[in-house]
């Protein structure tokens, strides 16, 4: 059974929590005790229906204020797939949460209220999904029951969104008209919309082809941990543990280790369950090399003719998460794959207005929830690829050196030369 991770985003009141509640309920992931608690609370709060949104509001302050504060992770499974939902709230700290949820998502699900059509937030969600290079986007036009199941409303929204999406980089876009409250086109086809010939949302999630979304071309292995048992039985064992970040590695492959640039071959690929013939993303394995090289955490195992760029200069799109804005000439901690270093903001080229996609060249700072193109100078070389080529070797986080908080996230466009 495969696993699919998707991020949901929506504005206030567009029925996102209801949709998630519906998916969980119809796939029988909601248990009697949870449903009882929700029914009880619904009655206490005076709703005349069972408010499925209450299922996903986790924290006391959220229930009190009726809002969602933070990214919440939900789980459900069908006989076809296991699903992980990153449920991101639409209002407070929207960009930060949406970016966080989208960073690990195979698919982004954007909800639109059929009565309101495409609003600023819908565009923003699509832009973020595109920036984070989420491979699949599903636009659910919700509350179709409130527009009399009218096909024209749906078609107009699809046309408007398609035109907007042409400016973005969205490899796969799907539209589905639904009513989350009643379950139409969520898990079963809607009797009210016979004009819609596409799949239900759940069918789409279950059958979407995702295996080719991984990079199996460029071999990348960031060394995470050096395993040296120093026991009698494994006296000379020295293995490099890590998670494959790209490509396929096989015993006998000639490989190069960065930063040294030395070459050797793979002696074996080890796991607790025995040696492997090949390793590819997202496997966590241990690689042994034929020659005794000096390799440590932060080094990168790759191929002689297919290596990442070793550079101290990064050209990146950065999302800012913190109340204290990002400013030029400030130094931050940076974490990239298994490497940690420091970096200085050399230049903020522009701030991207994610509603209009226009560029503000005059911006001197990135404020919380801003996204901008930034030049960084790192204290030591990092081994990077473009984010569009490899999300693992193309991404980094920025850390405030005094508070240790994660203040920004970056996607590498180039190496800044």
């Amino acid at each position: 059974m495969e696993m699919l991770r998707f991020a949901t985003a929506g504005s206030v009141d567009d029925g996102k929590s209801t949709l998630i509640g519906r998916l969980l309920l119809d796939s029988k992931q909601i248990f009697e005790d949870q449903l009882e608690a929700v029914e009880r609370t619904s009655r206490e709060k005076g709703f005349d229906y069972t408010n499925l949104a209450l299922l996903t509001d986790g924290l006391r302050s959220e229930r009190e204020q009726g809002i969602t504060i933070d990214v919440a992770y939900r789980y459900f499974a069908t006989p076809q797939r296991k699903f992980i939902i990153a449920d991101t709230p639409g209002h407070v700290q929207y960009t930060r949460n949406m970016v966080t949820g989208a960073s690990t998502a195979d698919l982004a699900l954007v909800l639109i209220d059929a009565r309101k059509g495409i609003v600023e937030q819908s565009r923003r969600h699509a832009v973020i999904a595109s920036l984070l290079r989420v491979p699949h986007l599903v636009l659910c036009v919700n509350k179709m029951d409130l527009v009399d199941w009218d096909q024209r409303v749906f078609d107009d929204i699809c046309a408007e969104f398609t035109e907007f999406a042409a400016k973005l980089d969205i490899p796969d876009l799907t539209f589905i008209p639904i009513s989350a409250l009643n379950g139409d086109n969520v898990t079963t086809h809607s009797e009210h919309m016979p004009w819609f010939g596409g799949p239900t949302l759940l069918y789409h999630l279950e059958h979407l082809y995702i295996a080719s979304d991984r990079n199996l071309i460029d071999p990348r292995f960031p060394v995470q941990y050096v395993i040296r048992p120093m026991s009698d039985r494994h006296h000379d064992y020295r293995g490099y543990a890590g998670q494959v970040a790209g490509g396929v590695f096989r015993p006998g492959d000639e490989v190069m280790v960065l930063p040294s640039g030395l070459t050797t071959t793979i002696a074996s690929i080890d796991t607790f369950d025995g040696p492997l013939d090949e390793a590819f993303p997202p496997m966590s394995v241990t690689i042994r090399l034929a020659d005794d090289l000096d390799v440590s955490r932060g080094d990168m195992i790759c191929r002689t003719r297919n290596a990442p760029t070793a550079t101290q200069d990064l050209d990146a799109m950065v999302c800012w998460f913190h109340e204290r804005p990002m400013a030029e000439r400030v130094t931050y901690g940076i974490k990239h794959t298994t490497n940690s270093a420091r970096c200085q903001v050399r230049d903020l080229q522009y701030r991207l207005d994610i509603n209009t996609l226009s560029r503000d060249d005059s911006a001197g700072q990135l404020h919380m929830n801003d996204i901008g193109r930034v030049q960084l100078r790192v204290t030591a070389p990092l081994f990077v690829d473009e984010y569009r080529r490899n999300q693992t070797t193309g991404s980094f986080i920025l850390i405030d050196e005094s508070t240790h908080e994660t203040v920004g996230a970056g996607m590498i466009i180039g190496t800044g030369d």
Partner: protein, 302 residues
């Protein structure tokens, strides 16, 4: 090469191993919490896999309420010996004896809340800066919003509104002296995933997870084991039933379920058909209030 499908258990395993190695690489003194429950058993197996053929490079800590099932303690000691790791016991009884906490009294007394004190003392005494826990996000609503690296201040408190964003597989473990993190490597596993993994890997778990005959009493809709630690209420009549445990915690507040499931495969069938969450069915400690878990976590509980 043809893009192969990655089975979900392999993807989950790879992610958990990555997290465990990352903590071992970046923290000075990690420790792995081990309760003898199935989640911590799976987590310990993942740690074994992460560093193979070397030993697990950190000790294991058991927060011992003193109200244990014998089968669980036997299992713990065998497994620890097999792995050759150090065991640290953080004892609730010791905290009571030292006058650090006052034990609840009465038939509904539980040592669950006292665990937090023993845990925090254990972390401080050992100088640990990272503690692995077997919490899963599907267990409970407050956990659903907790990060994989969960920061705790010097009092062990969790601040849900001030969590670090976690993107891709990049974890920020920087902290000040006195602060520590709780790490949840199996955050993304569900109860079903855990059972499927136990079955696939042939992992041994304490026998009380499978059907056995046991003396129990019915209380507040739960089936509680009759043990020396449980005080019976006047009208309670013990009876013998065929039961198994879905979670294993303090013996006084862990409920059993009636079940004939004697193997992991049979348990999987039951879990798939179950209509009640494992905590809802079997944990008296979670029934305190709707915000029970959130409040305990804020105070430093797992």
């Amino acid at each position: 090469m043809k893009a192969a499908q990655v089975p979900h258990l392999d993807a989950l395993e790879a992610e958990s191993i990555h997290i465990i190695r990352e903590v071992a690489a970046e923290f000075e003194r990690p420790v792995m919490l081990f309760s003898g429950g199935k989640d911590s058993i799976v987590m310990l197996r993942l740690a074994e896999k992460a560093f193979h053929p070397a030993r697990i490079p950190f000790p294991v800590m058991h927060v011992d309420t003193g109200h244990n099932f014998d089968e669980v303690i036997d299992y713990r000691d065998r497994r620890i010996a097999e792995l050759g790791v150090n065991l640290v016991v953080a004892s609730v009884q010791a905290a009571i004896d030292a006058g650090r906490v006052v034990e609840e009294t009465g038939p509904r007394a539980s040592r669950n809340k006292l665990q937090t004190v023993a845990l925090l003392d254990g972390l401080t005494d050992g100088g640990f800066d990272a503690a692995f826990g077997g919490g899963r996000r599907d267990e409970e609503k407050a956990r659903a919003k907790e990060r994989i690296y969960s920061f705790r201040d010097e009092f062990g408190q969790w601040d849900p509104k001030n969590q670090r964003p976690e993107l891709w597989s990049l974890y920020n473990g920087r902290h000040r002296r006195g602060e520590h993190i709780r790490v949840f490597p199996i955050s993304n596993w569900t109860e079903m995933d855990v059972w499927q993994y136990i079955e696939r890997e042939g992992i041994e778990i304490p026998s009380i997870y499978y059907a056995h005959r046991r003396e129990i009493v019915r209380r507040d809709g739960m089936l509680l084991a009759v043990t020396p630690y449980l005080t019976l209420l006047p009208d309670e009549q013990p009876e013998e039933l065929l039961v198994r445990f879905r979670t294993v915690g303090d013996a006084t507040c862990t409920g059993a379920v009636e079940s004939p499931a004697a193997t992991a495969a049979e348990v999987i069938v039951e879990v798939a058909a179950s209509r009640i969450t494992e905590r809802g069915a079997t944990r008296a400690d979670d029934r305190i209030s709707e915000a029970g878990m959130e409040d305990r976590k804020r105070e430093g509980y797992f």
